[in-house]
């Protein structure tokens, strides 16, 4: 597994794709940090800066993880590299987990670089942002990438070609990041009032983007953005049960797609051409 992870990391590090995305992410993170720390920018400090950073994370990290993971895996499937690997005396678990670890290490390094650059800008512009809060934010970003890379592995294995993987990844990203909230808003309009809060609670757990978004805001003591009607939700989510459920949901989102990927490989998904 270690060899496979190392090989995957090498491949990723030599990919112009990842480098380009890393530069884009870093540039946006630095820009947000810079504008959030200059009085003339129209930003009024910490909350707006972290909100902008949160939006960048929630838009870019799922996209980066889905595209990088699914295109690499489907590409390897198309080029027969994955097929060849599976004829070696290594288990499908070792292959998938090794690739996942390699991909994760690469995306993690991009995130670390981006956040590091943003922190440097904050430091040199004399910003007042709490470093511990930024680190918490960074950890949520890492969690987000772990979840979306797991989904990317599944998309990569079920897709027959790179092109199909690209399409499925973009559809999944658009639904989870862009359209999901409209679906929930639409449902809330036709739902009975007493079902509204349970439905909103469940909807958070059904979408990893919302899960991380809500937890990030709660962790940063920004629960007031949800408004008074969701006060009960914020109290519950900030409690022990909420935190355990959050940890459980994140774990399930990261593990279940990987389990299903291995299952698909064992059932011969690598050779469906």
């Amino acid at each position: 597994m270690r060899q496979i992870a190392r090989q995957q990391l090498t491949l990723m590090m030599r990919s112009h794709w990842l480098a380009g995305f890393g530069l884009l992410f870093s540039a946006l993170a630095v820009l947000v940090a810079f504008l959030g720390n200059t009085g003339s920018s129209g930003f009024d400090g910490f909350n707006r800066m972290t909100a902008s950073l949160l939006n960048i994370n929630l838009l870019l990290i799922p996209l980066l993880s889905l595209l990088v993971g699914s295109l690499f895996l489907s590409g390897e499937k198309e080029d027969r590299g994955l097929m060849l690997l599976l004829t070696y005396p290594v288990s499908p678990w070792s292959v998938i987990l090794g690739k996942y670890i390699g991909l994760f290490a690469a995306v993690w390094s991009v995130l670390t670089f981006g956040y590091g650059a943003a922190l440097l800008v904050i430091f040199f512009t004399g910003g007042s942002v709490s470093v511990s809060l930024l680190i918490l934010f960074y950890l949520y970003s890492v969690l987000l990438s772990a979840i979306f890379l797991s989904l990317a592995m599944l998309i990569g294995v079920i897709s027959k070609t790179r092109f199909q993987a690209l399409g499925v990844s973009l559809i999944a990203w658009a639904f989870l990041v862009l359209f999901y909230e409209f679906v929930i808003m639409g449902l809330s309009l036709i739902m009975l009032k007493q079902w509204l809060l349970p439905m909103l609670t469940v909807s958070i757990f059904l979408n990893p983007v919302e899960l991380i978004r809500v937890q990030s805001i709660l962790s940063l003591d920004g629960a007031s953005v949800f408004g008074p009607r969701l006060y009960d939700l914020t109290i519950w989510a900030n409690g022990l049960t909420g935190k355990i459920l959050f940890a459980g949901a994140v774990t399930l989102w990261a593990v279940l797609p990987l389990l299903y990927t291995v299952r698909r490989i064992k059932r011969g998904a690598v050779d469906e051409q």
Binding site: Q3, G81, M83, L84, Y88, K266
Partner: protein, 236 residues
């Protein structure tokens, strides 16, 4: 089980659709020998190799090794063979040396043997060149080197001479004969019948997912008492 029989396939089948299927393959593989699986495009040669290497799960049938049923997907069986896929494309960002070192380390093979492997297929001098600069033939030789690397008793080679120039086809034949001398079994697919006549001990002919002939090459080309090229035997 006959005395030389090593691996036996019993009724191996793969059903994709009514028009695309492999039905009831019965075959034995001996040790050592050079076995050629011939047939046209889409005859089912690669599918059969994929079932034997555990890549593809058969719809029906069993594989036996030394008389005992085995699962080609099991780690134990995989330790007995190496595999060269048809038209393998290695990662373009890596060098030939990096690719082969990776596959060697997966099997715990020492790095020195990697250099020997590269030398065997004439890629030693270009070992540090990125794969994107390799020609199709060079990639094919790298794929062959990957399959020749481990010390296993059986090698499955899927269309190994595709893209090779005449010199490397000649070298391929030498290498394969040397492999047999070392006691190994080479199971390869091809549609070049002259190669089969020159190299193989036994051959089988596949057409539309069925095995039509399976015998020693010597018998097939002389079964009417006079020499008849395999081309005539299979298509005549």
């Amino acid at each position: 089980m006959s005395s030389k029989e090593w691996i036996r396939l019993e009724g191996l089948s793969k059903h994709y659709s009514e028009t695309k299927k492999i039905t009831g393959i019965h075959l034995t593989i001996e040790k050592p020998e050079i076995f050629a699986l011939c047939g046209g495009n889409g005859a089912g040669k690669s599918t059969l190799i994929k079932m034997l290497t555990g890549i593809m799960k058969p719809t029906a049938g069993k594989v036996y090794m030394e008389g005992k049923p085995v699962d080609p997907r099991s780690r134990g069986f995989k330790e007995h063979f190496s595999y060269m896929p048809d038209e393998m494309l290695f990662p373009r960002q890596l060098t030939g040396l990096e690719v082969l070192t990776f596959f060697a380390r997966l099997r715990g093979i020492h790095d020195e043997k990697v250099l020997e492997g590269l030398n065997q297929v004439g890629l030693y001098d270009v070992r540090n060149m990125p794969i994107k600069q390799y020609s199709k033939g060079m990639q094919q030789r790298l794929s062959l080197a990957q399959a020749l690397l481990p010390d296993v008793p059986l090698r499955f080679l899927d269309e190994p001479t595709n893209g090779l120039d005449p010199f490397w086809v000649f070298r391929f034949k030498e290498i394969i004969l040397e492999e047999k001398k070392q006691g190994r079994t080479i199971f390869f697919t091809t549609h070049i019948l002259s190669l089969v006549e020159e190299l193989a001990d036994r051959a089988a002919f596949m057409q539309e997912g069925k095995l039509h002939y399976c015998d020693s090459v010597e018998y097939l080309v002389h079964k009417d008492g006079v020499y008849t090229p395999l081309e005539t035997v299979f298509f005549g």
